[in-house]
């Protein structure tokens, strides 16, 4: 169980969060199938530091950008995605 230091809620166990994976920018909807399906399916899946999206579903319900080392599970950065709809 990792500790994720949520910028809104403080240190919390990872089971309060849901994992969203690598952040892949969404292409224009007018794009070709190959580009769209790269967005849907293809992943770098690197080993080491990874920028990924998490959702604090049982906390502030904010989406977060996290930098995590996916071998050691060390976390070096957690920020709110910044959109302030519900703020």
């Amino acid at each position: 169980m990792l500790v994720i230091i949520c910028p809104n809620c403080g240190p919390r166990n990872d089971n309060e969060f849901s994992f969203g994976g690598e952040v892949i920018p969404r292409p224009s909807v007018d794009t070709d199938p190959a580009t769209w399906r790269r967005y849907l399916y293809m992943r770098t899946n690197t080993s080491g530091w990874q920028s990924e999206r998490w959702f604090h579903v049982s906390g502030c319900r904010r989406f977060l950008n996290i930098e995590r080392h996916n071998v050691t599970n060390e976390i070096r950065m957690v920020t709110d995605v910044g959109g302030n709809n519900d703020a």
Binding site: M1, L2, V3, I5, G10, P11, N13, S18, G20, R26, V29, D30, T31, P33, W36, Y39, L40, R53, F55, V57, R61, R62, F63, T72, N73, V81, G82, G83, N84, N85, D86
Partner: protein, 938 residues
């Protein structure tokens, strides 16, 4: 029988005023309060505790600790109990495992005679032909399983979990661990001190007077320190990422065991060392014991371990054992000092040690052979923290190499020292642990750590001879009956890396998990392949450090369920419960077919509270709806509701429901019951990550409203009796929403929709009034013969009406087109979730279609998931929903079929689970009943 109990010893754990009677293989014996099962048996002169796994050799105490490979017994219902750890209690029924018919005479001991024919992995080389006999071979092999017996009637027992948040957790309570705890607490840290044995002290419990004095002082100091919580008879089982630490507490008053889940800021591992057995011929005979084992027996339990002993010693522990044995009146037949090159070559005897052969060829009569040839560092917790311990040839043991800053190793884990030196080292480590814990907390508070980690000067390492195997072969893994000869032959056969050899011979795979045998195995295997593996390898232990009962891991298992506010009524009216995800809902109240009849002929009510409800407000709600639904929303008028379907970015249908506009900028979205959370998160994702500038405020209100669907031709009449809302069809038409009071409850909203195909009003009332409104509806509708209906009746009616259910009639690959609502998918919208995939789907055209299907024989209901087959093409579709329709008095189905088999009138063959095929026909409309929808629009 002779009593082997000694006169009182200064550090003994037993209470001589309390005798405890128990049985051993049915024979009644007495021990003392404070005795372990093993010490009580030893006091009674019992030397043979078990038979070995493969060869069924007699085995006695070896380490006299929890991790003794030879001391696993059955206690009542419980298999594999550690006899050298668990205290004996009144009435306990203890028996030997792995014996038939009896411990003293075991038929399978015949395996010893053919042991040469049963080399490691022998089963990989035989039993292959003839193939038909393989099941029989398997049954025979199965009979040779070691281990105790599980009682099918065993009822579990009480277990629980506790969450703890100590600053510092110290594993091990020898002088180092006690000192570390005290120093950390003095620096202001909250501390949990965990000790595997029943009392604090570690090895100084069987030390000399000055050790016992130091122990008393340390214990008193700990008792006086409120910041230290002591857990004895508890074990640190695992260290996981971010210092998440599990502790099993065994000596609990109200539960069998407790699992402590601790978020530890700094973990101090002060686990000391484990004594290692020596490998030589006969090293598993009862009577061959480690020096610490005899010292435990004598000092802690006042048991005389034998009459005449040979001691092989390479260190102070062996020397101290000689002193203890002499004090206990054991005759010392010979001392073999390994520091001068003397050693043991062989021990012989049938039921136990009788003769010891030394390296000078002397044959010495003895019933006890004590070995003190070295130590294993129990680095399990360090391994779990990522450490790869390194072999130190001078110390003849592994030492930690590099640890994360939140883990510190102390005491015997890192070096050697006198009790004073260990206390000094523990104190320094404990203080540093407290400082580091503060730094972690500072980071958690969002600040910078207040201090950088400081290195603590380690202990010196004493020279120790490297002793692993004598000139003869003996057992390396006692639990698995693996000898050094087996390791040699595995290496010769090509299993020449430790990992392969371990897997091939199963050395280290048994209940002791390497604590006793791992380092010997590495040394012997290295000898076999001709390189010092100790120098080039490391030891790895996987969690848990000690085995944990499944009950302890489970704790008080809770899987939450959800009930509607109307649930008490359902329960008291014999509703058959339906488990739907987390929800427990009424499936029916006894007769679902009659419930359908009531709705179709007059009026019924169903509790649909589990429906997801999301309150959406703000100027940009229409933009959000346009984006997440496939259909159009920009022109939804106030008071209107509309059906919507959501697709994911791959075009796959993810949810559906209706959304209504209650006021200029307030909307209410409904979702499926199972999709409520998913949709809520989905909307938040888009709003936060893609459209942060939109003005949308979102609140999930699923639990805020109880929802009741009133359905049937008389639903208008019934609802009108309870509401101030004008239900005149010209004022409140189909697919519209109104707000008002129901049964005098304010702030309700109603929408007029028709999942069942009947005129119906879905009433959403503030949740705490749900039951009241439900009862009012039943009360007011008595003359209309109103009847509650459950999920089953609703499913029948929606199927009659041809409405699909996401997740039942659709599957993980079902994209938007082909499900009867193609008209609603607006490809002219500039953007919406899944749009590109839907465009390509439409272009392709070859996607499966949802169709209504009727069997030619109306009495046959093909079970859901029956396959639709074609002689040439194979599977061309499947039945996704099917029921007997009480309304039509025939079976009705929905099916997914291939695009070229979906035309109205198409003949299909449905294969039933019993293998027969029945003919059926594709219908013109999805609705089997009232396809024009006249009943909805009255």
């Amino acid at each position: 029988m002779r009593d082997h109990r000694l006169d009182p010893q200064p550090g003994e754990l037993i209470d001589r005023s309390e005798t405890v009677s128990f049985t051993w293989n049915g024979r009644r014996l007495e021990g003392l309060e404070g005795d372990t099962i093993a010490s009580a048996l030893a006091a009674n002169g019992v030397r043979v505790l078990s038979r070995s796994f493969k060869l069924h050799r007699r085995r006695g105490l070896l380490t006299a600790t929890y991790h003794d490979p030879n001391a696993m017994v059955q206690v009542g219902d419980e298999p594999n109990v550690r006899a050298a750890h668990l205290n004996v209690s009144e009435g306990m029924e203890v028996s030997a495992q792995n014996v038939w018919p009896a411990l003293s005479f075991d038929v399978k001991a015949a395996n010893q005679l053919v042991s040469r024919l049963l080399p490691p992995g022998f089963y990989y080389k035989t039993f292959m032909a003839p193939r038909r006999l393989w099941p029989w071979y398997q049954r025979v092999l199965g009979r040779f399983v070691a281990g105790g017996v599980v009682n099918p009637e065993h009822q579990g027992g009480e277990y629980d979990h506790r969450f703890a948040h100590p600053d510092v957790l110290v594993a091990g309570s020898g002088p180092t661990g006690m000192a570390a705890s005290l120093a950390a607490a003095e620096a202001g840290a909250s501390v949990i001190l965990v000790e595997e044995e029943p009392a604090l002290g570690g090895h100084i419990r069987f030390g000399d007077d000055s050790d016992l004095g130091a122990l008393a002082d340390l214990r008193a100091a700990i008792e006086g320190q409120p910041l230290i919580e002591v857990m004895t008879d508890a074990v640190v089982a695992g260290r996981y990422d971010h210092n998440w630490v599990s502790v099993v507490q065994r000596d609990m008053a109200h539960v069998e065991e407790r699992l402590v889940l601790a978020r530890v800021k700094t973990l101090v591992v002060a686990a000391g060392t484990l004594e290692r057995p020596y490998v030589f011929r006969g090293n598993d005979l009862p009577g061959v014991m480690l020096s610490t084992a005899v010292r435990r027996l004598i000092n802690l339990y006042a048991v005389k371990p034998g009459d005449r002993a040979v001691v092989l010693t390479a260190n102070q522990s062996g020397d101290a054992a000689i002193t203890d044995l002499e004090r206990a009146g054991v005759e010392i037949a010979a001392v073999l000092d390994a520091r001068t090159g003397e050693t043991v070559v062989e021990a012989t005897g049938r039921k136990g040690v009788k003769t010891v052969v030394d390296s000078n060829g002397r044959r010495i009569d003895a019933d006890l052979l004590v070995t003190a040839i070295g130590w294993t560092t129990p680095t399990a917790l360090l391994n779990m923290a990522g450490d790869r311990p390194v072999y130190h040839s001078g110390a003849a043991r592994f030492l930690p190499s590099s640890l994360p800053t939140n883990v510190l190793a102390a005491g015997g884990m890192v070096g050697d020292g006198t009790t004073d030196q260990l206390v000094e080292h523990g104190t320094a480590v404990g203080h540093e642990a407290a400082v580091r814990a503060e730094a972690v907390k500072a980071t958690w508070r969002g600040g910078a750590p207040e201090a950088t980690p400081r290195d603590i000067k380690g202990l010196d390492v004493e020279d120790h001879p490297e002793l692993y195997r004598s000139t003869t072969h003996g057992f390396v893994d006692f639990s698995e009956d693996v000898t050094s000869e087996d390791l040699f032959s595995a290496a010769a056969e090509g299993y020449d890396s430790m990992e392969l050899a371990k897997r091939y011979t199963t050395a280290g795979m048994g209940p002791v998990q390497g604590k006793v045998e791992a380092v010997n195995a590495l040394a012997v295997h290295g000898e076999a392949v001709g390189t010092s593996l100790l120098e080039t390898s490391t030891t790895t232990w996987r969690p848990p450090y000690a085995p944990i009962r499944l009950g302890t891991l489970a704790g008080q298992y809770h899987d939450p369920v959800r009930y509607s506010p109307i649930h008490p009524w359902h329960e008291s009216h014999n509703a058959r419960p339906l488990i739907a995800g987390q929800w427990i809902r009424p499936d029916h109240y006894g007769d679902p077919q009659a419930e359908v009849g009531a709705v179709r002929s007059s009026v019924g009510i169903i509790d649909v509270s589990p429906l997801g409800k999301i309150d959406l407000r703000g100027a940009d709600v229409p933009r959000l709806l346009e984006f997440v639904y496939v259909n159009k929303w920009s022109k939804l008028e106030i008071g209107k509701v509309r059906y919507g379907m959501m697709c994911a970015e791959d075009g796959v249908i993810m949810d559906d429901g209706v959304t209504g506009r209650l006021s200029p900028d307030r909307y209410m979205m409904s979702t499926t019951s199972g999709g409520a959370g998913v949709v809520w998160n989905w909307l938040d994702d888009w709003l936060q990550t893609s459209f942060p500038e939109w003005d949308v405020k979102m609140t999930a209100v699923s639990d805020g409203y109880a929802s009741i669907n009133v359905a049937g031709p008389n639903s208008r009449e019934l609802v009108s009796r309870l509401t101030d809302i004008d239900l005149d069809p010209h004022q409140f038409g189909y697919m519209e929403v109104r707000t008002g009071t129901v049964a005098r409850i304010a702030d309700c909203f109603l929408w007029r929709i028709g999942f069942t195909g009947e005129l119906s009003y879905e009433i959403h009332v503030p949740a705490n009034h749900g039951l009241e409104v439900w009862e009012s509806l039943l009360e007011e509708g008595q003359d209309l013969e109103v009847r509650p209906f459950g999920v089953e009746a609703q499913r029948i009616m929606r199927l009659e009406k041809g409405h699909f259910i996401v997740g039942q009639d659709t599957d993980g690959l079902t994209q938007g087109f082909g499900f009867g609502i193609d008209w609603a998918i607006k490809m002219d919208k500039p953007d919406f979730s899944g749009k590109p995939e839907l465009a390509w789907q439409k272009q392709r055209g070859d996607y499966p279609r949802l169709v209504a299907v009727q069997t030619d024989d109306p009495s046959i209901v093909p079970p859901e998931a029956s396959q639709i087959i074609d002689r040439e093409a194979g599977i061309v579709g499947r039945i996704t929903s099917s029921r007997m329709s009480p309304t039509l008095d025939r079976s009705v189905c929905l099916a997914q079929v291939a695009h070229n088999r979906a035309a109205a009138g198409e003949k299909l063959d449905i294969r039933l689970p019993n293998g027969t095929t029945v003919p059926a026909t594709v219908m013109e409309h999805l609705a089997h009943f009232d396809p024009e929808g006249t009943r909805l629009r009255v």
